[in-house]
């Protein structure tokens, strides 16, 4: 079996589901395709030896953020009506803008030297290694991120509560 077969299967699935996120007209379908896309991106993490990040990614994205999105969509009751799309002129402009930048990036990788893939299976992405890095070298950014999360939580509660006259 071709050893890079899992990568190509995952890449095809993730690009297809990302396209369906953008192109499907019902917002609930978009959310469900996005959850699938996040699972395939988690598969990429697993192939790249980042096991702990795979777990964090599944828990945070598929478990928390997408459930929040789905809950908000149900709450607003957007699943019935179809969303009107923008004009064809604007769609063409968006296609040209995104497509040209994509073409530039892909063309830039064309002449690049292909690095030899590292064959040794490292356990660099396990919890103990990552924890030592987070609580040693990256202690200050880690604490700042926790303050940022606290601030965002307080801000979301303040924005979400009803105005008291």
């Amino acid at each position: 079996m071709n050893p890079s077969l899992p990568f190509f299967v995952l890449a095809t699935l993730s690009v297809f589901s990302a396209l369906m996120v953008v192109l499907s007209r019902k917002p609930v379908h978009s959310v469900l395709y996005l959850i699938f896309c996040f699972f395939t991106i988690g598969g990429h993490y697993l192939l790249l030896n980042a096991q702990f990040l795979f777990a964090v990614h599944i828990i945070v994205y598929a478990g928390a953020i997408m459930v929040l999105f789905l809950f908000t969509l149900m709450f607003i009751n957007m699943n019935k009506e179809l969303e009107p799309h923008k004009s064809n002129l604007l769609k063409g402009a968006a296609t040209i803008a995104a497509g040209c930048l994509l073409l530039v990036l892909v063309a830039a990788t064309k002449g690049a030297e292909t690095l030899p893939a590292i064959s040794k299976t490292s356990d660099i992405g396990t919890v103990s290694n990552l924890g030592k890095a987070l609580y040693g070298q990256y202690l200050l950014p880690f604490e700042l991120i926790s303050i940022l999360l606290l601030t965002a939580m307080v801000g979301a509660v303040m924005l979400g509560k009803k105005d008291v006259e």
Binding site: V15, Y45, V106, L115, Y138
Partner: protein
């Protein structure tokens, strides 16, 4: 995974990034626009992890930055959903074209 060159991973992640950019420019639903932004953030995460594995396999910088990006994306999603719910209370819609109170 040993046979995949780095350029293939970069091409996949840039495809995901620009699919997200296209969605951000064309969708009118505010929640769909937010989902496109999440897609773009995740494609950048794939790049960080891939470069970490291929260029510096003994360091952890790319993985730590990916954790920070995930945390910031969670904070951003929470605040954005709160703003969207507030907007829905005022205008009864989450269409980006209807949010024009500052214009007139």
């Amino acid at each position: 995974m040993s046979g995949v060159p780095l350029t293939h991973i970069i091409i996949v992640s840039s495809l995901l990034f620009f699919i997200g950019a296209y969605g951000f420019l064309t969708r009118r639903n505010l929640i769909a626009m937010l989902m496109s932004v999440e897609l773009m953030l995740n494609s950048v995460n794939i790049n960080f992890i891939a470069f970490n594995k291929y260029l510096f396999p003994d360091n952890l910088d790319g993985l730590v930055y990916t954790i920070f990006i995930i945390a910031i994306a969670a904070a951003e999603a929470a605040v954005a959903i709160a703003i969207i719910i507030n907007l829905f209370r005022n205008t009864r819609s989450i269409d980006a074209e209807d949010a024009d109170q500052l214009k007139n």
